[in-house]
């Protein structure tokens, strides 16, 4: 789960990480008022859950409240990578002398929380990792032992060269790590970590992601969830316990199991088709889930045909067939359905469907070929 910059900074504040005094607003008028309160030149930043907002025109400078009103209006009218801008952050335009990078990430390889630090902050860190990997220093933090102060100091001293800066950086990393562990984050990033007047380091941006598996432990974090991160279909599917991702093609897919669902999309592409969604109905044998899945998929105006691919293990093919028949009774299905059933109780499932005049394929390749030809 992702949160906005301003939400991340609020968390930073709670953990004692220095952040600028700033305000989040939803209208141009409020932006002007905020600029007046803050005083001087301000920066207005779009709050969207995707990267690259600067390049998209989502970050602008304003020298007066009137200018802030105009700039905020421009930004609030933007849609960045399909996400409409609904909030902007108004912050004092700091005189940044140097930009650093600080990041903590859950690292799958070292099975640790990996600290990343760089003198080259303010740029796209993913690009930097490719173009000049030596610019990023890394320190794996042993999850059992936690931060070892001497080790941390040694790594940070290569980037923060004066005692005053080093002390602040060490304090900030220690606090960020506490946030990371206490709130089950998967990423905590400050980019840029800016040097402003008087040797003061501030978090000028905040990127915080959380481990979805751990949200049940943190109702306070779950309450920060921004529904705009998800499509309407994804939200609806989620309500019904379906794992769903909207895609831009025209073949609706219902599959059991995430790996098989991904593979099914890949094979559709291989045969020249284009999937409209990823959908994993999960392992349970619940006909209702199939009905819900079908109604979400059929509600997508781009969808031209539907592929149902089930390899029954715990999932019983006859339950899936019952779900399909239930859907046929309740919804007027105008699109072609291509069904592939195999595994637990497949004979019973196939019989239920063929009795109603539906065709059922046995092989996955055959089913995909067919759905691509009718879409």
């Amino acid at each position: 789960m992702k949160v906005h910059e301003y939400q991340g900074k609020q968390l930073f504040g709670e953990y004692g990480v220095p952040v600028p005094v700033e305000m989040v607003v939803t209208t141009a008028e409020q932006a002007a008022e905020a600029a007046a309160k803050i005083g001087g030149t301000v920066v207005i930043k779009a709050q969207v859950l995707v990267g690259g907002r600067g390049k998209a025109g989502g970050v602008k400078i304003a020298k007066s409240p009137d200018e802030a009103r105009e700039r905020a209006a421009e930004i609030l009218a933007l849609t960045i990578k399909e996400l409409p801008v609904e909030k902007v952050l108004v912050a004092p335009a700091a005189d940044i002398k140097q930009e650093f990078y600080l990041g903590l990430v859950l690292d799958r390889n070292t099975k640790s929380v990996l600290l990343m630090v760089s003198k080259a902050g303010g740029v796209d860190i993913e690009e930097l990792a490719v173009s000049s990997p030596d610019e990023i220093l890394k320190l794996p933090i042993d999850p059992v032992k936690g931060i070892q102060d001497a080790e941390l100091k040694q790594t940070l001293s290569k980037v923060f060269e004066t005692p005053k800066l080093l002390e602040q950086a060490q304090d900030t990393v220690t606090k960020l790590y506490r946030l990371f562990v206490e709130k089950d984050c998967s990423l905590v990033e400050i980019n840029p970590y800016g040097l402003v007047e008087d040797e003061v380091l501030l978090a000028l941006d905040a990127k915080v992601n959380f481990d979805d598996n751990a949200l049940f432990k943190h109702p306070d974090i779950e309450a920060l969830k921004n529904l705009e991160e998800y499509s309407a279909d994804e939200i609806e599917a989620n309500k019904h316990g379906l794992s769903f991702v909207s895609l831009d093609g025209d073949i609706g897919c219902i599959v059991n199991g995430a790996g098989l669902a991904m593979a099914t999309l890949d094979i559709i592409k291989l045969y020249g088709g284009s999937p409209a969604n990823f959908l994993d109905v999960g392992g349970s044998s619940n006909p209702e889930k199939v009905l819900n899945a079908l109604s979400i998929i059929l509600g997508n105006p781009n969808c031209k045909a539907v592929l149902i691919n089930i390899f029954g293990g715990i999932t019983r093919c006859d339950d899936i067939a019952k779900g399909i028949l239930m859907a046929m009774d309740q919804i007027d299905i105008k699109l072609p359905l291509v069904i592939r059933l195999i595994g637990t109780n497949d004979k019973e499932g196939r019989k239920l469907l063929t009795d109603r005049g539906l065709e059922v394929a046995e092989s996955l390749s055959e089913a995909v070929e067919k759905v691509v030809s009718v879409a």
Binding site: R108, N213, G257, M262, A263, G313
Partner: protein
């Protein structure tokens, strides 16, 4: 032969009185697995059919030899279950549960490692040595005893691949689902080592997916250390970056974990990558003939 489990393996089921635990304890028994005991806190003295239930792993182990335990408890309690099994010294711990917090798994991983034990999963279908022992949730009847080892991050996709192998007359020595989470107890390399050492395994199928760099590491290992033929399949080739495709671990992030990088790594290691699961038996057969 097979790896990790065989006809002698005695199995404990943690969470045996729960809906999933009870269902699969019965299914495993019906498939010929020696399920010797179950654990559910507070239910000591009860029985599931003929299987005695204990309150703790330790109590069960005082009465039975336990070679492996399989965990069917909800995500909230599964880390405690893993640790309980590790404290009792169960050599092989299999965690089926989906949704275990990743930071907890990092801790569980070191906990199990420090005690010299082996953890498989979480978020996995378990493992099966066809005709000998099944510890997990896969349909046993699509399998067939034979010489192919299968390692996979997925569940139903593994069934698809196994089904194609069986239809082509290629039986399996052991099929292991290592799990779809970002941090798992055993990775591809751990299993490749065992298959390389198993005299009855003639070839191996690796089923990877987007996210992380375990496939790339496996490719390096295969090039350096595997004498047996290996074929691969990677799912998620059409997945958009930044989107979690069902499995917690199946996400391309920070430019890492793309299918292109994985396919490239396998090709460079001389491992053919199938475009579809039904191509795998053909690829393997070709390599097996050449050896």
């Amino acid at each position: 032969m097979s790896i990790l489990i065989d006809e002698k393996t005695q199995v404990l089921v943690q969470g045996i009185t729960g809906r999933d635990g009870a269902f699969h304890a019965r299914a495993m028994t019906a498939d010929g697995t020696k399920v010797v005991a179950g654990v559910t806190p507070g239910k000591a003295g009860e029985k599931l059919d003929e299987i005695p239930v204990y309150s703790t792993v330790k109590e069960a182990m005082a009465e039975h030899r336990v070679d492996a335990t399989v965990i069917f408890v909800p995500a909230k309690f599964s880390s405690a279950a893993v640790r309980e099994a590790a404290d009792a010294g169960v050599p092989l711990i299999i965690c089926i549960t989906e949704g275990v917090p990743v930071l907890e798994m990092i801790h569980n991983y070191s906990y199990v490692q420090e005690r010299g034990l082996r953890l498989i999963g979480p978020n996995c279908p378990g493992l099966i040595s066809p005709g000998k022992c099944k510890i997990g949730i896969m349909p046993a009847r699509i399998h067939k005893p034979g010489g192919i080892g299968v390692i996979s991050r997925s569940g139903t996709l593994t069934y698809e691949v196994v089904y194609n192998l069986t239809m082509a007359g290629m039986g399996q020595s052991t099929c292991v689902g290592i799990g779809g989470d970002p941090v798992i107890g055993s990775n591809f390399i751990d299993m490749l080592k065992l298959f390389e050492a198993d005299p009855d395994t003639t070839g191996v199928v690796v089923i990877g997916e987007i996210g992380g760099e375990d496939e790339e590491a496996a490719a390096d290992f295969i090039r350096e250390h595997m004498s047996k033929p290996v074929a691969a399949f990677i799912s998620g080739r059409s997945a958009p970056p930044g989107k979690r495709m069902g499995h917690a671990g199946a996400i391309i992030s920070g430019g890492k974990g793309t299918s292109e990088a994985k396919v490239k790594a396998f090709h460079e290691a001389g491992v053919p990558v199938a475009d579809k699961p039904d191509e795998i038996p053909g690829l393997l057969a070709k390599m097996l003939q050449a050896t």
